[in-house]
Symmetry: C2
Subunit: 173 residues, 2 copies
DNA sequence: TTCTATAGTTCTAAAATTGAACTGTCAATG
DNA sequence: CATTGACAGTTCAATTTTAGAACTATAGAA
């Protein structure tokens, strides 16, 4: 599977992964949510190579997750700011943080706490059902095809008729 | 940054990404939540090379996200099943699906709908504050260091002394 | 003039991924 | 009993990505 093909898949997971599903992109997005905005800021916080950083930022701009905005003329300089589409990635980030907080912390405890401005408390994110408000777990959910569904392709190499095995003892003739 | 180093970072995002933050792993996990359990099942659903699939499954088992369970003797065969740690990834998956459903669907609409068994309705996942129950948005949250916090390293190549780059009055002697 | 800050680009070497074939076990088939 | 098919991998060459380092460019400051 070529990676640009991911965005064509009839699957919201695949399409999302096609855009943000690599390690550096996710780390760059973490930085965005921590208010990093500039090239050097990302580079020094992450230790990513400048080459890859430039590449990833370009892709994030192209896909509408970041906007590149000038913050000074001469020399021209730009900042990278999350668009609304980018801000909407927040639940993904929080879900990732929460899983890490639950399963990956060492004896020191969590590196970062989150405070909800509205209620003033340190919180954990909880995923609930939009209809009944109950917390969600995998086992309480079933899936069914939606309007955009297409049959799942079988990607096994299709044992072509045209090419009879004749592997073993290759071309024994 | 070497990738095994990610799991050492004082950051729950980095550590989580170190375990599940690559494209194939995320797609394999999607399949797990869709009830795929066997090697051939993953391979034919995803089109991943057998080499990488074997590698990724091993890592998921090693990190405690999947358990490898025999389902027949002679020849020995195993299935890959989500552990509780793996099932806890559900909110991440749902957050990814939801973002894709919101920002990446084509004119056909969503490929997959989710039904909450408890309330019987097709739902969207909503992330709320554990303390007040209100939906969360990035702008309503502030962060502060937790017990496991450590100062953020600056990873810029450290302008080595050994290399007389004539830095600020470089040791004018 | 030289240095520094910022935001990249270019290059080569190293690492990861792809694609395809190959291995091995056992059951069923002709 | 030799062949085939299902399953779960392993092996290896070729390609693609990524890492690491140096280089380019602009403009203000020392």
């Amino acid at each position: 599977m070529r990676w640009d093909a991911l965005e064509e898949e009839p699957c919201s997971v695949a399409r999302t992964i096609g855009v943000i599903g690599d390690r550096w992109t996710l780390l760059i997005l973490r930085e965005c949510f921590l208010r990093t905005r500039r090239f050097e800021g990302f580079q020094s916080a992450l230790g990513i190579t400048r080459h890859l950083l430039a590449e990833r930022l370009k892709k994030l701009v192209r896909t509408g997750i970041l906007r590149r905005i000038p913050y000074q003329e001469s020399p021209k300089r730009h900042e990278y700011i999350l668009t609304q589409k980018g801000l909407d990635l927040y639940p993904i980030m929080m879900a990732i943080v929460h899983w890490g907080d639950t399963h990956m912390v060492d004896e020191r405890g969590r590196p970062l706490l989150h405070e909800h401005k509205k209620c003033g408390k340190v919180f954990d994110p909880v995923m609930v059902c939009s209809e009944c408000g109950e917390p969600l777990a995998a086992k309480e959910v079933t899936t069914r095809p939606g309007p955009g569904a297409r049959p799942r392709p079988d990607r096994r190499p299709a044992e072509s008729e045209a090419k009879p095995k004749a592997r073993k003892r290759a071309a024994a003739a």
